[in-house]
Amino acid sequence: MAIIYQPSKKQISWIKSGLFVAALIPLARLVWLGVNDDLTANPIEFVERSLGTWTLVILMITLSMTPIKLLTGMVWQIQLRRMMGLFMFFYVCLHFLTYIWLDQSFYWMAIVKDIAKHPYVLVGFSAFILSIPLVITSNNAMVRRLRERWKQLHQLVYLIAILGVVHFWWLVKKDIREPLAYALVLAVLLGIRLYYKKSSDTSMAPVSKVAA
């Protein structure tokens, strides 16, 4: 397949810097709205949901790097993936901090009960916890050290994404249009991977026969 766009090393570092700044805009916006006392009538819920939404958006962007490679043959954008993954974690940390601090006022008994008793909180919390090992093993040294196991470990991101979307789905009262949009995007992103995996498996089959 034809490579659509191939930036130079310098251009990639510019794109990366631009993306870094762009990824901070959702946070800057919340700070701006907060300073101007414009966080709606229910500011805590607004901040909590906004941070949750951006966690999902950035996670979807992170997960789109490989499908872009599969569809276009471009590989340079894979270099942006780790940074986006870390931004996802940055936003989920802020989301979780908002939950335990502003929403629950560090009232630990209530937090434990909330997580244990309410499925939507539990799946969201699980997704957060599962993302911690991915962050810890995100540096080059760990990639080298873990080799094949690194790949296996980081496939956890698929589960994290599914749990994240379910977390959103179970939280809405009845109007599921927004979580449905994330579910569809995720289905497409995972579907493209499955499709290419399947077609590469079948095209590999005769080769392995010969080898056998």
């Binding site: 009538a41 500011p43 006022s105 209530a110 309410h118 939507y120 009845k174 109007d175």
Partner: protein, 216 residues
């Protein structure tokens, strides 16, 4: 125009001006507790629902009151989306509706009710979750059988007919034991939700002998 129908001596059509004549308007400052965990103190202007019901003259068969909201696709684009089975329908048992705390509101903060808050008139039942307060009512129907409300039709395991504020009975997906009071700002802690939203003294007797876990 509001249509009064069903188990009544004679069906009636009321304009909002007719409603104003039924009883003098009064201001009522009530807590409002949303099923999704926020609450707010709101000064309503309205008339006791009991006065409106007396005016409607229900027959002895009337056991429930059904409130149907307007669902005008032109002015309310939201009803084009089948989130609920429109129009919005709510209901009360007749004795609940006759309780002095229940009002038909026509104003808010001393002003005429804005469209988004349910003009020209809406129900306010302060001991129940906010969704019981049907907005922009166009039909009041008296029935013998319990009406099927819009939320019961949408998710009967999550939203019951009674929907009394009850901190001991959680929504299947989230807690009802605490609430966030609107107006407190970013750093205000949650407050404890009270039984019947703090109106137990006035309304608890309506539910004596009932299992409120089943009749949520």
């Amino acid at each position: 125009m509001v249509s009064i129908e069903g188990e009544v001596k004679k069906p009636k059509q009321l304009s909002i001006e007719d409603v104003f004549k039924i009883a003098p308007l009064e201001e009522r400052i009530y807590r409002m507790r949303c099923v999704e965990g926020w609450s707010m103190v709101i000064p309503w202007v309205g008339l006791p629902l009991a006065q409106l019901i007396k005016f409607a003259e229900p027959t002895a068969n009337a056991k429930y009151v059904e409130f149907i909201s307007i669902a005008d696709k032109k002015t309310m684009p939201g009803v084009n989306i089948p989130v609920l089975d429109w129009p919005y329908v709510e209901g009360l048992r007749l004795d609940e509706a006759m309780n002095p705390l229940a009002i038909m509101a026509v104003g808010l903060y001393g002003e005429v009710l804005p469209n988004q808050n349910g003009a020209p008139m809406r129900l306010v039942v302060p001991w129940k979750y906010g969704f019981k307060g049907a907005k922009s009512i166009v039909t009041i129907r008296f029935t013998e059988k319990m009406p099927q409300t819009a939320w019961m039709k949408a998710a009967s395991s999550e939203y019951g007919f009674y929907a009394n504020v009850n901190p001991t009975v959680d929504h299947p997906r989230w807690t009802q034991s605490t609430e966030r009071r609107i107006g407190g700002g970013l750093f205000s802690p949650r407050i404890k939700t009270q039984m019947f939203n703090g109106y137990a003294e006035q309304v608890a007797q309506l539910y004596t002998g009932m299992d409120l876990r089943k009749n949520f």
